[in-house]
């Protein structure tokens, strides 16, 4: 899967951190690196930030079991659990 970050009105770093970080948390660094290609030619800094900072930080959180903070309730989403892809509400408010 290719995620092209170009030709948009721009991003806040926290948005990209959350978006890609949760991908790591849900599917592991190994799987995301194998599957996801990031393109960011207009702002190469984003690709660098995601791969060198976001990925290792969220992988570390995943291994330690530090659950992500959520600010609103979400619909069920997919996560890799015991080598199976399971869809449920993994985190809740409160």
């Amino acid at each position: 899967m290719t995620i092209n970050l170009d030709n948009t009105a721009g991003y806040a770093s926290s948005f990209l951190d959350e978006a890609f970080g949760n991908l790591i948390f849900d599917f592991t660094l190994e799987n995301v690196k194998k599957t996801v290609e990031i393109i960011s030619e207009q702002e190469p800094y984003w690709k660098e930030m995601i791969e060198s900072k976001t990925y290792p930080e969220w992988e570390s959180r995943r291994k330690k079991g530090e659950r992500p903070k959520i600010t609103i309730d979400h619909l069920p989403w997919y996560r890799l659990q015991n080598n199976k892809i399971v869809c449920e509400i993994w985190e809740q408010l409160g």
Partner: protein, 172 residues
Amino acid sequence: MRNMGAIRITIDLCQSLDSSDWVDIVAIIINSILALWIISRLQNKITNKRVLKDHFITEIREIRNEYKQYLKNLYADSVNPKTIIPWFKLMNIKVSDTMMYLNTKYKIEPTLLNPYQNDLRELITENPEFNNQFKDKIVLTLSPEFKTQLVTFQQTNSKLFNEIIVKINDAN
């Protein structure tokens, strides 16, 4: 009459020269032409180099002024929060393009303006005041504490532009 006299002298002079004198005269003429040609080529090259340097110095000054003006607008609480991220994106593209040329031409480090491109954006967009006002406010109102952070940022980093200008000037 005077012209006739001058022509007569010239003819007499030419007739008195031998072949080795002619070789010397031709050599002098050729060397003079060559020297003039080399000087004019060098002059053009030096002029072109200077023109290009001046162009890039102007570009850096313009970038500096854009950041300065934007920060001024932020202090004056006259920036729409929804325009901040798009503004930084456009500036980043402009800055990256310019720094890429400076790196190619003058071997200037292309990430020198990273504090303005990335740190400043993060300083603003990671601030709770920005997040809280993003959806509903038409202008972003910043606290005095946050404005102080912006002032500190400028105090620390505004010298970067002059550093780049000096590097351009000093480059070969």
